[in-house]
């Protein structure tokens, strides 16, 4: 019997190996062609890494989101798109296993582990302005079946997913914020692509718009209301795992800068190259980011099963702050690495090239815009008291 800590360590080792041997060598190709990182995701599947958060009794590893953080960072050091797909899958798998209490949904989790199914999400909708807590589309039920249709402006790796967790109003009569999360799966799932994904970074996540049409057994509707799923699981796990992706990007940039400075130093032993001072600053900045992400992972793990703590405003503010801080730090760190590496970092054809890392890093502040998150915190701080 493996302990969760052993399983988490093993997963980091597996992710590191896959990152270096599988994801890294094709990362530029994935980026250039904006194609799905199929090799790396298949390799993760083969290692049964897609069921890391599924409870042991349902066939998974029973890990927590915090325990997954380092594996996500390891992947991101080589290919941020692979890491992001892996992270987003786990935000959804966490939502399924933590909020799908019925025997039917536990069986879906069992299937996930057995067949290593890849989960995507359709939480935003055209016309709601990016607000996850508002849905236009609604679940229609009759005769034990459900049906829904959603205009999704973005479904990350939608075309490659085995199931899509979709938000919708509880019923056609429900107000826009009375939402549920629905597991949509073939054969009752139809995705009609409505756009292309041609972005600055995270190109391998292949996230175009879709019209999603789904129908199936009404037990696919997750029991807990979506506001709880979001508060307890989707929001904290996305902020912890996204930040872990960005930490991996920052680590990759720091690694190039360190290598560059060492090479410079070797050319002229006895003289400390001027860039070494900048490297010292960079390493300090990276340490701050590393500590921030580690602390947030630990904090989430500590209250993982404590619904009261997860519902507190203090926790929500901390997780929102994590997202805003980490997404700002990654751009700063990659920028500093660029100054250190100079032309060698700016070039696309050098071993110190930072172009892809910089482009990916800029995704951090715009995927769920930092201003929206700060506005949420600003509002909560009107009533929140310290301690």
């Amino acid at each position: 019997m493996t302990t969760p800590v052993e399983a988490a360590d093993k997963l980091v080792a597996t992710a590191t190996r896959i990152a270096e041997q599988v994801a890294g060598p094709v990362a530029d190709d994935v980026d250039r062609k904006a194609r799905f990182p199929v090799e790396a995701i298949d390799a993760l599947r083969a290692e049964r890494a897609l069921s890391a958060l599924v409870p042991v009794e349902l066939g998974g590893d029973g890990l927590t989101v915090g325990q997954l953080s380092k594996a996500v960072s390891a992947l991101a050091r080589q290919c941020a798109s692979t890491a992001m797909v892996f992270a987003m899958h786990h935000m959804q798998s966490a939502s399924l296993v933590r909020h799908g209490h019925s025997e039917f949904l536990r069986d879906v989790a069992r299937q996930l582990a057995e067949r290593q199914l890849l989960l995507a999400s359709a939480t935003t909708e055209l016309g709601v302005g990016g607000d996850l807590r508002t849905s236009h589309c609604a679940v229609e039920r009759s005769g034990g079946r459900f049906r829904l249709e959603k205009q999704a402006p973005v479904i990350s790796y939608g075309a490659y997913a085995d199931m899509v967790l979709t938000t919708a109003r509880r019923s056609p009569e429900s107000p826009p914020n009375d939402q549920v999360l629905v597991v949509c799966a073939p054969p009752g799932l139809e995705l009609e692509e409505t756009g292309v994904w041609d972005t600055l970074g995270f190109r391998g996540t292949v996230s175009p718009g879709f019209v999603l049409r789904a129908e199936g057994d009404e037990r696919c509707v997750i029991d807990d209301q979506f506001s709880d799923v979001l508060e307890h699981t989707m929001l904290p796990s996305s902020h912890v795992l996204w930040s872990s992706v960005w930490l991996g990007l920052a680590a990759a940039a720091v690694e190039r800068a360190r290598r560059f400075v060492r090479t410079e130093a070797r050319k002229n032993p006895g003289t400390t190259p001027p860039s070494a001072i900048r490297l010292a600053e960079l390493v300090a900045a990276f340490g701050q980011m590393e500590a921030l992400v580690a602390d947030a992972s630990r904090r989430y793990d500590e209250c993982w099963d404590d619904g009261e703590a997860l519902s507190s405003m203090g926790f929500a503010i901390a997780m929102n702050s994590l997202k805003v801080s980490a997404s700002t730090m990654v751009v700063d760190i990659v920028g500093r690495a660029m100054v250190i590496c100079g032309m060698a970092g700016y070039r696309e054809d050098s071993p110190y090239s930072l172009g892809r890392i910089l482009r990916d890093a800029h995704g951090a502040a715009v995927m769920v815009n930092n201003d929206r998150i700060l506005a949420n915190n600003a509002q909560m701080l009107l009533v929140h008291k310290d301690g």
Binding site: E231, S311, M380
Partner: protein, 82 residues
Amino acid sequence: MDEQIRSVLAEHGRFPVDVATLDDRADLYQAGMTSHASVSVMLALEDAFDIEFPERMLRKSTFESVAAIREALTELCATAVE
């Protein structure tokens, strides 16, 4: 107290339905109160009852129904008098 709670809800809860039609135990979030509106409700309640909700009460469950709000306020007002 109930009347005052309901009047705060009517003014700041931005419900798509008439607050008077909501049962004491009805889930206010399911009835359409957004988290944005719930902060306004908290602020207005603090002002109306001259209390401050402590951190431990700042969670969804405290504000999920008229009855839940009443329980929280009763506790806070009792402490205030002591």
